[in-house]
């Protein structure tokens, strides 16, 4: 591939000049990500800005009418006499969102032209119009409205992409990995929409720059802060309020943004709990986003960004004998330096810290007990964008992460006797990756994006490996590994390939193969996504997850690109998937690794998508037909394939947005999904005079189908005022469908009285929920 690149660079190296620069929002100075730059000669030649708003394209000398465009913004056309390398910084003006006039004709077929498959960019303004639970705008819930993405449960921000587990999604906030994305047991995501600029979801054809996860990438960029004027915006909602302040530190050079959010569920609910069995329970969450940037000159810029969020659940027994506090949360910090070596070579260097902690602190009379689990990463990263010619966009780079995992750590004391899990250490690991990828036109019709990623992972000491005897119970030896000593390591080569073939100006066919390796694993014993789920690294016993995805799709636009449609089919093969063993019980006395079983997974399906992106009336319909299964030799299912909890045979989403007038926006969503596969109690027996339950086949029962309709209406104040104010009225679950959240079994009577009455029950959590949120900006 290097040889090919070098050749093509030489061929193009004569009498060509480079046009490069940044594209920004005119009023806020925010970089625009994925904005288009193109010229039209006998064919359209174009490029798009990277995540820092930078573009570069090299063209033969000549005079060009260059168009700069971004969805929701007015186009700018500049006439450029390209007789030398030129730097052009462009500020685009925000048009009426999604108005037809703004949208130019030729380049609005990015879905047809690009090699991207299964990639969707969501603009935060677009997300804000879609109705959500309690009026809390949530990017992770909006993502679930896309085909191929399944929700983890009622109101949950956890999601499954094409049959992959929630841990197989790489969720990045300004390049920092977010390990736990949910507040309040997953009902709200940690992403405060006011601080977010852009969200990209990649569910197939993952480019080589991303690594370490099998299923998808959700790349979230925070706003940089307005470098022109000071602004405050916020909102007051039913359960949480938000406030964001942003503005220039040095105009055009430096800006900041601070954004905070806190719930007041505790304040609202506590009075109602008094005297009930729930008395003493308290809960709240908050989060804080900050970012500053400084532009030294046209070639150097730095960004510092951070996120801190916590959930706190506490319980104080009314008589004060028991006191439990359970805080958990994420913290991330990212420092980045952008440097332009030349008009064609852009570099970003990042230093990133991120952590997720979960702890339980309890006091029961003279017994103290603390439990802690978490993960902490130090991450260094360098990425280059190299644009040698109009035909090539090359990316290469490397990264290194030092992981510290604490699957369980417990300590406690009773009177003066202390105990702890000091024999069960943290697990430390090095992870490194190196990649190169190039996107180029082979012919006028055929464009390919080919990449290769090399990855390395090693678990290192200090660590005590406990060796059990043949009975798997008695400890016969403990192998001690010293500081930095290698315990187990893995290397992998991950080829990535995507191709696009233009059939005619309105349609294209795309195909891709993606090999991925994942060295860290989330193990969950619950049917929901929870902060108690544990992150663990690959080790001598736990092998890396390996995934291969094959996909092919047909993309076609209708009526001057007003309607975008696509059909994609995929097949995904997964190795080294992890589950807890059948009889798993959380036990601090054992290494978590000894409770796992390993197996295979497969997922295949077809996704149908039709989207109307323009006009007063817009939205989309997505439908997915798919199957997702696992097979574990060491579970009771043996060699049989069983459906996973991620399996949704049918999955339909309809999103409709209508701009009624300058002041009123209406929107509605409808979702339908096959019921979750779950394991249910099939029969009963008596042991110890008590009724016990015997389960049916693993995930052998389908809960009733999930469906729901939400509506919302937004009323904005009259245009032209100094401040913006809007009211959002939304209704979640309009027809109050009792969707199953879980099913359980209960009985009355017992063996001693000679009779029992056994009943299955379904719990549904969110009935119809109206909500109102007031948002402001000035």
């Amino acid at each position: 591939m290097f040889w090919m690149l070098t050749c093509s660079i030489l061929v193009f190296a004569q009498s060509k000049y480079t046009l490069s620069g940044y594209i920004k929002d005119g009023s806020s100075g925010e970089d625009l990500i994925g904005a288009n730059v193109y010229v039209k000669t006998d064919q359209v030649i174009g490029t798009a800005t990277n995540v820092y708003g930078f573009f570069s394209m090299t063209l033969p000398a000549g005079t060009y009418n260059v168009t700069f465009s971004y969805i929701g913004y007015e186009d700018q056309i500049k006439t450029i006499d390209l007789t030398s390398d030129q730097r052009v910084n462009v500020s685009l003006k925000q048009g009426e969102v999604l108005e037809e006039v703004v949208i130019k004709e030729e380049r609005n077929d990015a879905n047809i032209q690009s090699t991207d498959m299964g990639t969707i960019e969501l603009n935060i303004e677009q997300i804000k119009t879609i109705p959500v639970l309690f009026g809390e705008v949530d990017i992770l819930k909006t993502i679930q409205l896309l085909p191929g993405v399944g929700g983890a449960g009622e109101g949950n921000t956890g999601f499954y992409v094409r049959g992959g587990g929630p841990d197989q999604n790489l969720i990045l906030l300004d390049e920092a990995v977010v390990y736990n994305t949910g507040h309040l047991f997953g009902f709200f995501s940690v992403f405060n929409s006011d601080a977010i600029k852009n969200v990209t979801l990649i569910k197939g054809g993952m480019p080589a720059q991303y690594g370490g996860r099998l299923s998808s990438v959700v790349d979230v960029q925070m706003k940089e802060g307005n470098n022109q004027q000071y602004h405050a915006e916020g909102g007051i909602g039913l359960i949480a309020s938000r406030l964001t302040i942003q503005g220039p530190i040095v105009k055009d050079k430096s800006s900041f943004i601070v954004s905070g959010r806190r719930t007041y569920i505790d304040a609202i609910v506590t009075p109602f709990l008094k005297g009930t069995e729930f008395e003493g329970n308290g809960y709240y969450f908050y989060d804080l986003n900050t970012k500053v940037n400084y532009k030294f000159d046209d070639k150097n810029r730095i960004f510092l960004s951070g996120y801190f969020g916590q959930d706190v659940f506490n319980y104080v027994a009314p008589d004060n004998t028991l006191n439990i506090s359970v805080p958990w949360g994420n913290a991330t910090a990212t420092a980045r330096w952008n440097h332009l070596f030349s008009d064609q070579l852009f570099m970003n260097v990042s230093a990133i810290y991120n952590s997720f902690d979960f702890s339980v602190k309890s006091e029961f009379q003279d017994f103290n007990f603390n439990l802690f689990s978490g993960v902490k990463d130090w991450n260094g990263k360098v990425d280059f964008d190299y644009y040698p010619g109009a035909n090539h966009a090359i990316k290469f780079g490397a990264n290194y992460i030092f992981h510290t995992f604490t699957p369980y750590s417990a300590e406690g004391n009773f009177d003066d006797v202390e105990f702890g899990t000091d024999t069960l250490n943290n697990k430390l690991a090095h992870e490194a990756g190196i990649y190169i990828q190039d996107e180029f036109d082979v012919t006028k019709r055929l464009k390919i994006n080919v990449g290769l990623r090399g990855s390395y992972f090693a678990q290192v000491g200090p660590y005590n490996d406990i060796i059990y005897g043949e009975d798997n119970i008695t400890i016969i030896d403990t192998v001690q590994y010293g500081n930095g000593e290698k315990i187990a390591d893995y290397t992998a080569l991950e080829p990535r390939f995507n191709a696009r073939f233009i059939v005619d100006p309105q349609s294209s066919i795309k195909a891709g193969i993606t090999f991925t390796n994942q060295f860290i694993h989330l193990v969950s014993s619950s049917t929901s996504t929870l902060p108690t789920d544990l992150w663990i690294p690959s080790s001598a016993k736990v092998k890396p997850q390996i995934g291969v995805q094959y996909s092919i799709g047909y993309f076609r636009n209708f009526f001057d690109n007003k309607y975008e449609t696509s059909v994609e089919v995929y097949y995904k093969d997964l190795k080294n998937q992890i589950e807890y063993a059948d009889g798993y019980v959380p036990d601090l006395g054992t290494d978590i690794e000894d409770n796992f079983v390993f197996g295979r997974g497969r997922s295949y399906g077809a996704e149908f998508f039709i989207k109307k992106a323009k006009g007063k009336f817009n939205g989309w319909i997505g439908y997915t037909l798919s199957k997702t299964e696992r097979q574990f030799d060491n579970l009771s299912t043996g060699t049989a394939w069983f459906p996973t909890k991620y399996d949704r045979i049918h999955d339909l989403e309809v999103v409709a947005v209508y701009q009624l007038s300058d002041r009123w926006d209406l929107s509605s969503t409808f979702v339908y999904a096959t019921g979750q596969a779950t394991t249910i109690v099939e029969s009963f027996y008596v042991i110890g005079g008590q009724l016990q339950t015997d389960y049916g086949p693993r995930n052998g029962y389908r809960m009733p189908a999930y469906h729901r309709c939400d509506v919302s209406a937004t009323l904005k104040n009259k245009p032209g005022k100094k401040y913006e104010s809007s009211w959002n009225f939304s209704i979640y679950n309009v027809y109050s469908r009792k969707n199953p959240y879980f099913i359980y079994t209960t009985w009355e009577g017992d063996f001693a009285v000679g009779a029992v009455d056994v009943q299955a029950k379904q719990v549904s959590i969110f009935p119809i929920i109206p909500s109102v949120t007031w948002n402001f900006k000035f």
Binding site: T321, L530, V585, D587, V686
Partner: protein, 318 residues
């Protein structure tokens, strides 16, 4: 020592919050009736003969009257127990056929409090040694031995084995008052134990309050992973009568004036694994729980065949 209780309490706290807005409805599960399985519950203790109950699973939802249920008890099975040298063939006895004076003994084994229930609601049937009523049965449990169980019923064969570990008697047992002085009539039971080397011991406990039978606690088994070889003190919940109504304020506590007998049993790993999985499964429910399958040690069936290396200690709370 097991600390899943806290984990459960966190999750149940979480579940409680959810329940505030939740709605529960009765549903009918549309599932084909599974084949019934044979359930074994058998014990052997030092100086006591093997006692085995053979029942059948109830493969449906709805009302169940154990006396009207056809084939709840598995009759006429061929049951043998062997200690590797001697083998005994067990015989079946049903309550309705037994003399009155033997009923308290049976109640003890079954954990039925005849004082409160006023008698047996179900015609219970058990398999035991043929010379049980002599008072001096020949085949009794002995620490250090492994007991294999063989059951043949129609075309089904069930097998299991269990090892009786030597009893470990606590150093002492004592009580402490309730943490809240307002509840001064309630006390907690504490155990001081010197846990013997090597690592790999497992325990199950039962308590007896006055004339009640022995009951196990909701979380009744322990391993020695964190406490191996140490001398330490800990508290255990009062064994819980399953037909008693759960009361959060008094759960786990004894009362002043109680006579408490602690039965502290050494058990083998399969026994430990069965009870901890069974108890964990019945202790968790809801969205945060997954089905924990009780790890039976019965090949070809469900349930448990366990040898208890039992030690006893008595405490009068004054």
């Amino acid at each position: 020592m097991k600390q899943s209780n806290l984990y459960i309490s966190f999750l149940s706290g979480a579940a409680m919050l959810l329940m505030l807005s939740a709605c529960t409805t009765d549903i009918t599960l549309d599932i084909p009736a599974p084949e019934p399985k044979i359930v074994v519950e058998g014990t052997i203790e030092p100086g006591l003969p093997p006692i085995i109950s053979l029942t059948s699973t109830i493969p449906f939802y709805g009302e169940v009257n154990f006396n009207e249920l056809d084939n709840f008890y598995v009759h006429d099975a061929q049951v043998t127990v062997s200690d590797g040298v001697n083998t005994v063939e067990l015989v079946e006895y049903c309550l309705n056929d037994l003399p009155e004076e033997l009923l308290p003994l049976v109640a003890e084994f079954l954990g039925v409090d005849l004082d409160t229930t006023g008698g047996f609601a179900v015609n219970i049937c058990l398999y035991t040694v043929p010379d049980i009523f002599t008072g001096f049965p020949e085949f009794v449990g002995e620490a250090g031995k492994t007991y294999t169980l063989n059951i043949t019923y129609e075309d089904q064969v069930l097998t299991s084995s269990t090892t009786m570990f030597p009893p470990v008697k606590p150093d002492s047992i004592y009580w402490e008052p309730h943490g809240n002085p307002e509840n001064d009539s309630l006390v907690r039971l504490y155990i001081a134990l010197t846990e013997p080397e090597p690592q790999g011991n497992f325990y199950r406990y039962f308590t007896r309050q006055n004339s009640e039978p022995f009951y196990s606690g909701y979380s009744s088994v322990f391993d020695d992973n964190l406490i191996n070889g140490q001398s330490f003190k800990f508290t255990v919940d009062r064994g819980f009568n399953p037909s008693e109504e759960f009361n959060q304020d008094t759960y786990g506590y004894f009362w002043k004036g109680d006579t408490i007998i602690l039965k502290w049993c050494s058990i083998d790993f399969p026994t430990y694994d069965f009870w901890r999985t069974l108890e964990f499964d019945s202790g968790t429910d809801g969205p945060f729980a997954s089905a924990t399958i009780a790890q039976t040690n019965i090949n070809g069936g469900l349930g448990i065949w366990c040898a208890y290396g039992a030690a006893y200690d008595t405490l009068i709370v004054e």
